[in-house]
């Protein structure tokens, strides 16, 4: 039972952290908003005055805008699908008592500790290279024509690379959820003659729903802003230009801070739309 007094004490104690976090968010956000209404070209003398909604209109009317939103959503959706499905399967597997369980778990988690840039480079040069890559050699062994992954299946390749990075995260969260599952329920179901698939569908999966929600929400936040994997592999060509990458091009390659900031505001709006959407669909699970 929190009294009025203890509640206000708690608020005072939390204030420093809240203020710090707000400042952390608000300063860049305010600057982004400020620049988005300005014509700001560092290589042409910097601040060239207020331009109202010009940047917003230009960013939206650019032929690159909608394809970039589409690419962003395809990558987010694809990675979520792969990591959730394989995350559940891996979690089930790792939950089995087996020899060398500790080592296997560490190996499964390992990709999470590799920096995105490094892993993207390894994938690009060691696996996907159409002349020297491992996949190319595999294809040749079976007499097939090697695929140039990053240009012919660019979006799929990037989804694959990013999924590989995020699979450990999903697996970990889901594994802890599975471990908290009551064994007695499963045993009771087994004694009542429920087949394995039904046991999974009616007991394990509902039990995992909250964990899956957490995985989906947290990953979405990060996946909306993936950058390194694209920068290192395709530089945004072949339809892999996401909204983040487009903003980067506008600000850093074209040196147009105003236009890029307007894009940043759009990205915030998009992220919020996606978040609201997700909360509607899966957020129910968090209320329980």
């Amino acid at each position: 039972m929190a009294t009025q007094h203890s509640r206000s004490a708690a608020r005072i104690m939390m204030a420093p952290a809240v203020i710090l976090l707000l400042g952390w968010m608000l300063v860049p956000l305010t600057m982004t908003l400020y620049f988005s209404f300005k014509k700001y070209l560092p290589l042409r003398g910097g601040d060239l005055g207020w331009v109202g909604f010009d940047n917003y209109a230009r960013f939206l009317s650019s032929s690159a805008f909608w394809p970039s939103v589409q690419a962003t959503l395809v990558i987010v959706g694809g990675v979520l699908l792969i990591t959730v499905i394989f995350g559940v399967l891996l979690a089930l597997l790792l939950n089995q008592p087996m020899w060398g369980q500790g080592i296997v778990r560490i190996l499964v988690i390992a990709p999470f500790f590799v920096m995105p840039t490094v892993s993207a480079l390894v994938w690009k040069n060691m696996f996907m290279d159409p002349v020297n890559g491992l996949f190319a050699h595999l294809w040749k062994v079976f007499g097939a024509e090697p695929v140039s992954w990053l240009s012919e299946a660019s979006l799929q390749s990037i989804i694959l690379i990013v999924s590989w990075q995020w699979l450990p995260f999903a697996t970990l969260i889901l594994l802890t959820a599975i471990q908290s599952l009551d064994r007695e329920q499963l045993e009771a179901a087994e004694m009542d003659g429920a087949p394995p698939l039904s046991r999974f569908g009616y007991i394990t999966l509902p039990h995992l729903s909250r964990a899956i929600t957490v995985v989906v929400l947290i990953q979405t936040i990060f996946l909306l802003s993936i950058f390194a994997e694209i920068f290192v592999t395709t530089q945004g060509s072949f339809g892999t230009r996401t909204l983040t990458y487009l903003i980067y091009q506008r600000v850093l390659e074209s040196q147009n801070v105003g236009l890029g900031s307007a894009g940043g505001v759009y990205a915030i709006i998009l992220a919020n739309i996606v978040a609201v959407f997700l909360m509607r669909i899966v957020g129910k699970n968090l209320d329980a």
Binding site: L43, S63, K124, T233, G236, S254, Q255
Partner: protein, 433 residues
């Protein structure tokens, strides 16, 4: 307190000759190219001579460009020396962002720097960046494969000869590809090659009213020629190959020909890295009979951002790294083939350097490139494989993506050119041309 001391020290330094009494630590941003890595290895020589310490920030070319551009336009002051190229120097010096290098000591001998290099790194006759190495582009080819194909490479071949030879050399079953060319998107990657090649076909970026020219016949000729040639005789996945990827393919013996930077010559002829070191020949970049060759002109140069606290020490470093003595130092430690090429006339007059197999071809390539008249028709911009305007990097990166997608077979040359024309026109209009 400290900055004031630094200024004092710097003033004292410029008055005195170098002494170790006022040792500074300067921070230098540079590219991860072989010659720069070598320079880092020799930093001790500089420290021994002047007492100054050096901190290196070594980055990949694209990343370096963005880091230094962001730093200088936002006045970040992270670096005392930046490695920049011929594209940035005129733009930045016009903005007053660079320290003029007009007081280098007499024994530095500014007049020894090749005119093409000095011109490209100066504004109104004042040098703003000292060239560390200069490059053009040329053909590197496999003499043994050329012989097998029953052909002989002339010193100044035409595009038709190159295309024919490339197709004859190609043996895809044995992973021999007749020609390796850049396909990776980027204004300094595929667009450098394609813009230079387009010059030889008579194409240009803009006409004299700054109207984009991608809808012109010469561009269609250039792009179709390139796509056909790469589809017939290029390596798979060429749309992801930039300088480094092609270098490793060539070193592994998988390319018959490679048209790229002259500095690559020392890497492909170095037996430590290259399996075909003793089988490489050189020729000038091809032409299409219109009086221009498809070679570019570029220099990586060292410049000092205005506002640095350590100007005097930075100037000493530039004086050391781009001097004649530095060339001798590298020659003594690594051999003449490995000195940074393309900057000084004296190097090409040096008898020891004339024995280097690619020296003559490099110099000829550099001398034939003209940044003021890059292509057949007159243009309003300066630059051979780029147009020295601030918007160029952003525009050319996007155009490069369209061309790269065309090479990957995702759109036709006509579609790529139409998109390039539209986006260039749009950007130029926004920039107020």
């Amino acid at each position: 307190m400290y900055p004031r001391n630094a200024i004092r020290a710097a003033t004292a330094l410029s008055l005195l000759t170098a002494t170790a009494a006022f040792a500074e630590t300067i921070t230098i941003a540079t590219v991860n190219n072989g010659d720069m890595i070598r320079m880092q290895g020799l930093t001790e020589d500089f420290t021994a001579k002047t007492g100054h310490e050096v901190e290196w920030v070594t980055l990949e070319e694209n990343v370096l460009r963005q880091r230094v551009t962001t730093d200088i336009s936002a006045k970040g002051g992270q670096f005392d020396i930046m490695t920049i190229g011929m594209y940035e120097t005129p733009i930045w010096s016009a903005n007053g962002w660079l320290v003029a290098l007009d007081d280098l000591p007499a024994d530095y001998d500014v007049d020894d720097i090749l005119p093409a290099m000095r011109g490209g790194l100066s504004l109104d006759g004042t040098l703003y960046a000292a060239p560390f190495y200069g490059e053009s582009s040329m053909i590197m080819y496999r003499t043994d494969l050329m012989e097998q194909a029953g052909l002989e490479m002339p010193d100044a071949p035409s595009w038709d000869f190159v295309a024919d030879a490339a197709r004859k050399m190609t043996d895809k079953d044995n992973e021999i590809y007749g020609i390796c060319l850049r396909g990776k998107a980027g204004w300094g990657e595929n667009m450098a090659f394609l813009t230079a090649a387009a010059n030889s076909f008579g194409a240009r970026w803009f006409d004299e009213d700054w109207t984009p020219q991608f809808d012109s016949e010469p561009w269609a000729t250039t792009l179709n020629f390139y796509l056909d040639l790469m589809n017939d005789a290029g390596p798979p996945g060429a749309s992801n190959n930039g300088f480094n990827e092609n270098l490793s393919l060539f070193q592994q013996g998988k390319c018959g020909m490679w048209i790229d930077a002259t500095v690559a010559a020392s890497f492909v002829t170095n037996p430590d890295d290259s399996t075909v070191a003793d089988k490489v020949g050189f020729a000038l970049a091809p032409d299409a009979g219109l009086g221009k060759r498809g070679n570019w002109l570029w220099a990586w140069a060292l410049a000092i951002p205005a506002g640095t606290q350590k100007e005097a020490a930075a100037k000493e470093f530039i004086n050391w790294a781009t001097s004649k003595e530095y060339l001798e130092l590298v020659a003594e430690k690594e051999g003449w083939a490995n000195v940074p090429p393309g900057t000084r006339s004296s190097l090409y007059e040096n008898p020891s350097y004339q024995d280097v197999p690619f020296a003559k071809m490099t110099l000829e390539s550099i001398l034939t490139a003209d940044p003021n008249n890059p292509t057949v028709d007159p243009v309003p911009y300066v630059g051979v494989q780029f147009a020295a305007i601030p918007e160029f990097a952003g525009i050319a990166s996007q155009v490069g993506q369209e061309f790269s997608a065309a090479l990957a077979g995702q759109q036709t040359a006509e579609e790529a050119l139409a998109k390039a024309q539209a986006l260039t026109a749009d950007e130029m209009e926004a920039a107020g041309y």
